[in-house]
Amino acid sequence: MRYLLPFLLGLALLTLWEIWVGLAGVPVFVLPAPSLILAALVDNFTALMAALWVTVKVTLLAFVWAVATAVSLAIVFTRARLIEMALYPYVITLQVTPVVAIAPLILIWVGFDNLSRALVIIAWIVAFFPMLTNTVQGLRSVDPQLHDLMTLSGASWWQRLIYLELPAALPAMLTGAKISGGLALIGAVVAEFVAGSGTSTGLAWRIIETGNRLEIATMFASLALLSALGIFLFYLLSFCEWLLLHRWHESFRR
């Protein structure tokens, strides 16, 4: 039922769309029928898959980097208050400055010799912050009595980290990862938009390109692929969450 219901709803809406577009005679360059979009997807399959792959690479690289750097920095923050105090305003600055505004700068600095690296950096900036704050919060909210237990066991700082803090922070980290995963994709799309030249060939660029050429069906097909990628990422991370937490965490108590 969980899967059948949304599926049936989607099917019904698509059918309505198809019928309505046909009856009302909506021009193809405004809203193409689902069947045309499907046809466009099939016709441009190899090109679209190549574009998808480019976007996937940027998204995943940015996501992995965001997780790795955010978790490392969160650990440093919880160990050294002074470093946190010193760095935090800058992290905030990076977060609140609209990425679209920083992107051109990054493209100039990094992008001229290695465009995909610039794209990854832009997406990374977008994905980084929620992972950081969630991990810091997770590491900070460990039951103090469990810390006492580690103290009395004579745990070294890394034993404390491995045995207590990281597992205790895992639920918060995974919440952060789900948000960051989605943001990495948004970041990748924004980066491609801003890069906006023939050298970037991801899905977002396809959308601009086909838009300019009024190949609206292909544009919709690219859009559908982007959504599918986002949904796939979300469910992948939800599955990881389930895998890691369902045995012991309260949120998975039926």
């Binding site: 039951d143 009595q145 469990l146 006492d148 237990l149 580690m150 103290t151 009395l152 066991s153 004579g154 745990a155 034993q159 045995y163 207590l164 597992p167 205790a168 895992l170 045995r247 012991w248 965490h249 309260e250 108590r253």
Partner: protein, 246 residues
């Protein structure tokens, strides 16, 4: 020789609340002391001070290295993602014992608290009393020279509690460890300990030695036990018996 001592120690928490006022007490090596008193009088605070988990505001604490201390917290304090067995062996793992040694101590500790069948269970699958027994097993598996226990049996049914009381006495006699045991129960204090410290409002009000004659068999009906119970009840609340029961 005293294993632990508080020397005119005061404890003040960050919010400015003074939980212990000018407390002096000696805990002779190998002694069994019960700590009784109404809720909020500072029993847990005193244990935390002795364990070095809090620092005295004034005065000093003569203590041991933290690795020498076994601590049973008032709450089970288990790692939710670790099985019962892995919770019990965590301190041993951190101390770096050999796998054989760890396995042997685990079996012994599990048997002692009657949780052998639950070695692979996760904490959320256990009842409150079972969790508390895991926490007890964890402290005992460490075989520490000093055991600080904060109402370890309060959540248990009476039969289990009586059995564990006896087991604890046996462990104490066998390992000659120093035990400081917080309890709300007058009878438990009288049954277990050699002396009881009665606390009130962050101070030790009274020290009551518990006559050990008739200790060997059926101490619960020995005159010395009854005498200790009424002496403790008197000290706690002028005849009424706070904390009640058992």
């Amino acid at each position: 020789m005293s294993a632990l001592a508080l020397n005119a120690a005061s404890l003040r928490y960050d919010n400015g609340f003074t939980a212990l006022k000018n407390v002096t007490a000696q805990f002779i090596s190998g002694s069994f002391t019960a700590l009784v008193g109404p809720s909020g009088c500072g029993k847990s605070s005193l244990l935390r001070l002795l364990a070095g988990l809090e620092q005295p505001f004034i005065g000093s604490v003569t203590g041991l290295a933290q690795s020498q201390i076994g601590f049973v917290f008032q709450e089970p304090t288990l790692l939710a993602w670790r099985s019962v067995a892995d919770n019990i062996t965590l301190p041993l793992q951190i101390e770096g014992h050999s796998p054989n040694e760890i396995a042997a101590r685990l079996d012994e500790a599990l048997a002692l608290v009657g949780l052998t069948d639950f070695a692979d269970a996760l904490p959320r699958q256990l009842s409150g009393g079972m969790k508390m027994r895991v926490s007890l097993a964890r402290a005992l598996a460490k075989r520490p020279p000093v055991l600080l226990m904060d109402e370890p049996f309060a959540a248990l049914d009476e039969l289990t509690r009586f059995r564990l009381d006896d087991d604890l006495r046996a462990i104490w006699q066998q390992q000659k460890c120093t035990i400081i045991f917080v309890t709300h129960s007058v009878t438990e204090a009288a049954y277990l300990a050699e002396r009881a410290l009665v606390m009130q409002g962050g101070e030790i009000q009274k020290e009551i030695a518990i006559n050990q004659t008739g200790r060997d068999s059926g101490f619960r009906s020995a005159p010395a036990f009854t005498a200790a119970c009424s002496a403790l009840s008197m000290a706690l609340g002028h005849g009424t018996s706070p904390g009640g029961g058992a």
